[in-house]
C-alpha cells in the first residue's frame, strides 16, 4: 500500500568554511555513500528507502561488551614518549588577564597593555578591572563610544620607541577631551614607555594604560 511519507529533516546548520592551517592536520578522504546528496544537504527519499532494504547486521552494543573491547585497545605509547612529572594541560591563552578593559557601562572592550595614551579624570571610571556586559571588539566599540574614546594613529616605530612621538601628536593627544588609545592602521597597540631625558636604556616602567611621556 502506497502512502505519503513525511520525512522530518532536522535543521542543517553548516559551519562557515574555515581553513585548518595547523601543520599537517589531516582529514579523511570522502567516502562513497550509497545515496546522492543535494546541494541543500538533503537526500532523496527514494535513496533512503533503498537503504532500508538492507538486512540489519548488528544489534546495539551493550556497555559490558564495549567496556571489554576498550580494555583490550588502550593506546600503548612507545619509547619516544616520556611521561611528564605531573599531568599537564596544553598551553592556553587568556586575553582578559593581559589586557586593559574599557567599559561604557553596558559592554566592554579589550585593549593591549600600555595602549592608553590619555585618560582624562572625568573618564577614569571607564577603565575597569572586570568585564561589564558583553565583549565588543575595538572597531565596533570605538564607533559606539566615539564621544569619550578615540584612537590616535601612531607608527610601529613610535610603539617600539625607535622613533619618539611627534610634538604635534603629543599636543593633539593632550588636547583630546576623551580617552585616547594608540592605534596602528586602526587597530590598538601597546606603546613601549618612552625614556625620560637623562635616563639610560628603556626607562622606567610605566603603569599599564598610562600615557607615554613627552620627550624633552
Amino acid at each position: 500500500m502506497k502512502s505519503d511519507f513525511r520525512i522530518a529533516l532536522a535543521q542543517v546548520a553548516f559551519a562557515a568554511a574555515v581553513l585548518l592551517a595547523v601543520q599537517g592536520t589531516g582529514r579523511a578522504q570522502q567516502g562513497v555513500a550509497p545515496f546522492k546528496v543535494k546541494p541543500d544537504g538533503s537526500v532523496a527519499f527514494s535513496d533512503l528507502m533503498e537503504l532500508t532494504k538492507q538486512p540489519t547486521v548488528a544489534d546495539r552494543i551493550t556497555d559490558e561488551e564495549l567496556g571489554a573491547i576498550k580494555a583490550r585497545h588502550k593506546i600503548q605509547y612507545g619509547a619516544g614518549f616520556t611521561p611528564t612529572e605531573q599531568l599537564e594541560l596544553p598551553p592556553r591563552g587568556d586575553l582578559y588577564t593581559n589586557s586593559v578593559l574599557l567599559s561604557d557601562g553596558k559592554n566592554h572592550t579589550l585593549l593591549p597593555m600600555n595602549s592608553l595614551m590619555r585618560v582624562p579624570d572625568n573618564f577614569k571610571s571607564r577603565v575597569v578591572d572586570k568585564p561589564v556586559g558583553k565583549l565588543v571588539l575595538w572597531p565596533e566599540f570605538s564607533k559606539q563610544n566615539r564621544a569619550w574614546v578615540r584612537g590616535q594613529e601612531i607608527t610601529f616605530d613610535n610603539a617600539t620607541g625607535k622613533t619618539p612621538l611627534s610634538e604635534a601628536t603629543l599636543l593633539l593627544v593632550e588636547k583630546t577631551p576623551a580617552i585616547v588609545v594608540s592605534v596602528v592602521n586602526g587597530f590598538p597597540i601597546g606603546v613601549k614607555p618612552q625614556p625620560e631625558a637623562g635616563e639610560a636604556g628603556a626607562g622606567a616602567e610605566a603603569p599599564s594604560g598610562a600615557a607615554p611621556k613627552r620627550p624633552r
Binding site: Q30, R60, L66
Partner: protein, 350 residues
C-alpha cells in the same frame, strides 16, 4: 638556527578551528601579536574566517607570539582561545591526524572537528620532527609536550561548565607513531553514553630562548553516544487479543548523520530480517549534534495480517558499519484475536 631580527613575517595563514559542536559566527576574530622581548602587544581584528594576514609589526630579536581568539556560536558570546604560534629562534614541527569512520562529516561540515561514536574506533597518527638529540641544546629544541585532554558534554551537547581533564601528557622526541584502533578515552557513566570532546595537542616547551609556548599541532575529536530507542505500548511476550494499543517510540541520541525507522514483521526476532516500515517513523538527520524525538503510532491495523507472533524493531543506519542497518531495540508479541469456544452445544426440550 636563528631567525633574522626585525624581519617582516611572511603571510601567516590564520588558523581558526571551530569549537566542537559550535558554529563560529562569521564575525570578528582577534589576533594578538606580542613582541616577546619588549612585551608590546598589537590586536588585529579580522572579519574573515579564512584567508591570510600580514603581521604589521616587525619581529624583534626575541621573537613574537601570535594568539588567535574567536567568538563561539550564535548563543555563545564568549571569546575562545583557539591557537598560539611563536616565531623565534627555533621551533620544531608536528602533525596530528585523526581519521574516523564518519568520513562524511568533513564533507557536510567542513572545518568542524572529526567525530565518531562512543563504540567506534578511530586512528591517530602523530609526527614530530625537527628536534635535536643534543643534550646541550635549548630545551625547546630537544623535546615537545604532547597532551591528550578530555571534556565531557552534558545533555545540552556542550561542555556547559564541565572541566577539562588530562588523559595523558608526555614529552616527545622525533617520531612518527600511528595508533589504531583507538577508542574514546572520555570517562562517562556508561561506555555507550560517552559524549564530549577530546583534544590532542603538541606544543613547544618554554625555555630561556623562547619564554612562551607555541602550539605546534592540535586536533580535536567529537564523540557522540550510541543511539538508543525505546518501544512502549507493547511488551515482549504479551498477547494482544483485541484492538491494537497505541505505540510510543522514543528515539534517543540519534547519530547526527543517520536514517532511522521502525519496522514490523511476522515471526520471532531475527537479525537480518526486513519488515514493513511504519510510515510516520522514518527520520533523516544531517546535523551537528544528536537528535532525540518521541513518536506516536496509532491505528496500525494495516500493518498486521493473520494472527501470530510479530516483532517490531527500531533500526538506524549511519556511516558506521558502512551504512548498513543496526538494530537499536526490538519487541516481540503475539496477536491472537480468533475467538475459540470450548464446550458442547446443548439443547433441551421441555
Amino acid at each position: 638556527m636563528k631567525h633574522n631580527a626585525q624581519r617582516i613575517l611572511p603571510p601567516l595563514l590564520i588558523l581558526a578551528a571551530a569549537m566542537p559542536g559550535t558554529i563560529l559566527r562569521a564575525e570578528d576574530n582577534i589576533i594578538r601579536q606580542t613582541q616577546l622581548e619588549s612585551g608590546i602587544q598589537y590586536d588585529l581584528v579580522t572579519s574573515n574566517n579564512t584567508g591570510s594576514a600580514y603581521s604589521f609589526m616587525p619581529i624583534e630579536e626575541g621573537g613574537a607570539s601570535y594568539e588567535l581568539y574567536a567568538y563561539g556560536s550564535a548563543w555563545d558570546t564568549n571569546l575562545y582561545f583557539l591557537d598560539r604560534k611563536v616565531i623565534g629562534h627555533y621551533l620544531p614541527r608536528a602533525r596530528i591526524t585523526i581519521n574516523t569512520q564518519d568520513m562524511w562529516h568533513d564533507w557536510f561540515h567542513p572545518g568542524l572537528p572529526p567525530r565518531t561514536r562512543a563504540d567506534k574506533p578511530y586512528t591517530l597518527a602523530i609526527k614530530v620532527w625537527g628536534l635535536t638529540d643534543d643534550d646541550d641544546a635549548p630545551l625547546a629544541a630537544q623535546k615537545v609536550l604532547y597532551t591528550h585532554v578530555g571534556q565531557n558534554y552534558d545533555e545540552t551537547y556542550t561542555p556547559n561548565g564541565n572541566a577539562e581533564y588530562v588523559v595523558n601528557s608526555f614529552h616527545m622526541f622525533n617520531q612518527e607513531p600511528n595508533y589504531t584502533p583507538v577508542y574514546t578515552a572520555l570517562v562517562p557513566m556508561a561506555p555507550t553514553k560517552a559524549m564530549g570532546i577530546e583534544k590532542f595537542t603538541i606544543s613547544s616547551l618554554a625555555d630561556e630562548t623562547i619564554p612562551e609556548t607555541s602550539i605546534l599541532a592540535e586536533e580535536m575529536l567529537t564523540v557522540w553516544p550510541v543511539s538508543e530507542a525505546f518501544i512502549d505500548g507493547v511488551e515482549t511476550g504479551m498477547t494482544i487479543r483485541d484492538s491494537l494499543p497505541n505505540l510510543i517510540i522514543r528515539y534517543s541520541d540519534l547519530y547526527p548523520l543517520s536514517w532511522t525507522y521502525v519496522q514490523i514483521y511476522k515471526g520471532a526476532p531475527q537479525l537480518g530480517k526486513s519488515g514493513a516500515i511504519f510510515n510516520t517513523t522514518p527520520r533523516w538527520h544531517n546535523t551537528i549534534v544528536p537528535q532525540s524525538e518521541v513518536l506516536s503510532i496509532e491505528n496500525w491495523e494495516s500493518m498486521i495480517g493473520t494472527d501470530g507472533q510479530y516483532t517490531i524493531e527500531v533500526v538506524t543506519i549511519t556511516p558506521f558499519n558502512n551504512w548498513q542497518p543496526e538494530r537499536l531495540s526490538h519487541v516481540s508479541f503475539n496477536i491472537d484475536r480468533n475467538v475459540n469456544v470450548n464446550g458442547q452445544v446443548v439443547t433441551s426440550e421441555k
